[in-house]
Symmetry: C2
Subunit: 334 residues, 2 copies
C-alpha cells in the first residue's frame, strides 16, 4: 500500500510520516500529494491569526473541542512560533492541550521550520491538502499574523479569524494595518479584562474605514448623510465581519464564534465566493510551483559555477544585478 | 541629466522621485538602479527590528541624531506599519520626528505597500542601494521583526539590532524564536521601566542557547564544565551580541549603542565577514530577480489563456498542481 493509500484509510502513523515528507518537500511527498489531490476540496479551512498574547491558541483549542462535540474531525496546523502547539508557550497552554491529545478525531501538526524550501505558505497549503484528503472536516490554521508570509498563509483559508485582546494598546493599529482586510470574523479574546470596550471601539472604527457604510450625497443642494449599509451589488450581499467577545480559556463565546464561522461559510457558498477563494488559492499555489520549477530547470541548464561567477562580477561592481540577470536569462547576451 | 545623475549630485527631489519609481518597480527605476549600482557598497546598513511597543522608532530617531552630530549622512527606511515614519503611531513620536525633518543630511522614507511587486525585501534592497549610491553613510532599516519577510529585510543589513522592552512578557519568546539568530546587538529599550532585569535575563538565557559558551567534557572520568567562550575558529573570533540598555526617548544609552555598532562593523571587517554579508545579500537579490525574469519570460511564451485553462483543470481535480506544472514547463507533455 502506498503512503497516500494508507493516509486515505485513516492510518495516523502514515499521516504523520507523509506530513514530514511534505514539509521536507521530498519526491515521495510530492508523489503522495499528487495521488491525494483528487480527494481534496471538502474541508473547511479556517485561519486564526493575531499577535502573540491574544490567546489565539486557546481559541483554536476550544474551537477544536467544539467541533469534536459535533463529531467533526479536526486538524490543527500551527505556524506560529508562540503557539503551544509549536512549543513556544507557557505551561498553562500545554496543560490545556491535553484536552485534545489522545482523541483520534484530532490531529495537531506544527510547522517545524520557517522559510523552509518552497516557502511557508506553500508548505502549509500542501499540509492542509493532506488533511483535506485524509477526511478532516475542519482544518484550523494558526498564524501569528504580523508578517507577509503569515498573511499569505491566512489567505489559504476560506474563513479567517483575527484575534485581538484588550490591553495591547496602540499595537492594534500595527497589527491591523495589513490584516484587517483579510478578516472575516473579529474576536476580542480575554474579554473579561479591562479595556474590552476600547478594543472593540478601535476595531469597529477600523472596520468602518475598511467597509464604509456611511454615504454622503447632495439632496436638493443639501448635504445628506446615510448610515445604512448599501451593498455594492444587490445580488451579492456584503459580508460585514462581526466582532465577537470570547474568554477562550473558560470556553466562553466559543459557540458564537463557531456560529459566525458557519454563517460565513453559508455566505461564501451562496454568493459563489467559496469557489472563487478555492480558485485563488490554487492559482497562487500554481504560481509558486511554476516559479520553483522554472528556477530549477534554469539552474540545471547553466554550467556549474556560472551563477557563482556572475555573483562575483556583481560583487566587483562590473555588472549591475539587472544586467547580470538579462545576461543569464538571454544566454550570455547582455 | 538623467534621474540617476541628479541623485548623484545630491538632488533631494530627484531622490524622492527615484525612490517612488523603485517602489513601483518601473522600467525607469530599474534603469536608474543599473546606473547607480557602481556607486554602491559604501554605506553601513543597520537593521533595527522588534515588536510593536518596544520603541524602536525612537531608537532609530536617536541613532540618526547621534550620527548627524558626527556629520554622517543618514537615511531611514521604515518598513514597519507601526512606525511613526510610516504613519501608524501616536502623537509623541510624530513630535520627535521633527528633530530630524528639515535636516538636509537626513532622508526618511517609508515603504507604502507591503508585499508589493517583487516582494518587500527586494524593494527594500533596491531602496538601500539608491541611498548608498546617493552618498548616505548610514542607512537605518526599521522593521517590525515578526514575520519572515521582516527577517528577510533584516538580513539585508550589515548590523542587525533587535529591540526589546520590559513588560512585554511571554511574548519575548515568540518574537525571538526567528529573530535572535540574526541579532548582532540586543537593546533593552524603555529600561527605566520595571522588569528590565527579567527582560535582560530572558535575553541572556536565550543568547546562551543560541551561542553556547558552556562546554561539558569528561576529565579522568569526571564530568567537567567550562564556562569560557571557545571560538570555533581561532582565526575568526566569535561575536557575542552585547545586551545594551537604553531609554531612547531621553537619549539615554544611545552613544553606547552607536559604539556597539561601530565595534560590530570592525569585527565584520577584521574577519572578512563584511564581504561575506555583501555577497550573501547580492546572491539573494540575484536569485529573486532571476525568479522574476524566468516567470516573466515563461508567461510571455505560452498562449493567452493557457495558464487560466490549467487552473481550471486543477480546480476541477482533473490535474494535480504538480502534474499541471510539469505539463506547462515541459511544453504540453505531462
Amino acid at each position: 500500500m502506498t503512503l497516500a493509500e494508507s493516509v486515505l484509510t485513516g492510518d495516523r502513523l502514515a499521516l504523520a510520516r507523509l506530513l514530514t515528507r511534505v514539509e521536507n518537500d521530498s519526491p515521495e511527498g510530492r508523489a503522495a500529494l499528487t495521488d491525494l489531490f483528487p480527494h481534496t476540496g471538502r474541508a473547511h479551512l479556517i485561519g486564526v491569526t493575531g499577535a502573540p498574547g491574544t490567546g489565539k491558541s486557546s481559541l483554536v483549542n476550544q474551537l477544536a473541542l467544539h467541533y469534536r462535540k459535533l463529531d467533526k474531525r479536526v486538524a490543527i496546523v500551527a505556524v506560529d512560533p508562540s503557539s503551544p502547539f509549536t512549543g513556544g508557550a507557557v505551561l498553562g497552554d500545554r496543560v490545556r492541550m491535553r484536552d485534545l491529545s489522545g482523541d483520534p478525531g484530532v490531529f495537531i501538526r506544527s510547522m517545524a521550520a520557517r522559510g523552509s524550501l518552497g516557502g511557508l505558505a506553500q508548505t502549509t497549503a500542501a499540509m492542509t491538502q493532506v488533511f483535506d484528503a485524509a477526511g478532516f472536516d475542519i482544518v484550523l490554521i494558526e498564524t501569528v499574523g504580523a508578517g507577509q508570509s503569515e498573511v499569505d498563509v491566512a489567505r489559504l483559508a476560506h474563513t479567517t479569524i483575527v484575534v485581538e485582546a484588550p490591553g495591547l494598546g496602540d499595537d492594534i493599529q500595527a497589527i491591523k494595518a495589513g490584516i484587517l482586510e483579510i478578516a472575516d470574523l473579529l474576536v476580542v479574546n480575554k474579554s473579561d479584562r479591562p479595556g474590552v470596550e476600547n478594543t472593540e471601539r478601535a476595531l469597529k472604527s477600523m472596520l468602518d474605514l475598511a467597509h464604509p457604510t456611511r454615504h454622503v450625497f447632495l439632496h436638493h443642494g443639501i448635504e445628506m448623510t446615510v448610515d445604512a449599509p448599501v451593498p455594492a451589488d444587490v445580488n451579492a450581499p456584503m459580508w460585514i465581519p462581526p466582532i465577537l467577545r470570547t474568554v477562550a480559556v473558560e470556553g466562553k463565546g466559543i459557540a458564537e464564534v463557531a456560529e459566525g464561522i458557519a454563517r460565513h461559510a453559508e455566505h461564501l457558498r451562496a454568493g459563489g465566493e467559496w469557489a472563487e477563494r478555492e480558485r485563488a488559492r490554487l492559482r497562487s499555489e500554481l504560481e509558486a510551483l511554476l516559479q520553483e520549477a522554472l528556477v530549477k530547470r534554469f539552474r540545471e541548464s547553466i554550467p556549474d559555477g556560472k551563477f557563482e561567477s556572475v555573483i562575483q562580477s556583481v560583487y566587483d561592481r562590473h555588472l549591475s544585478p539587472w544586467d547580470a540577470i538579462q545576461m543569464l536569462v538571454n544566454g550570455g547576451q547582455k
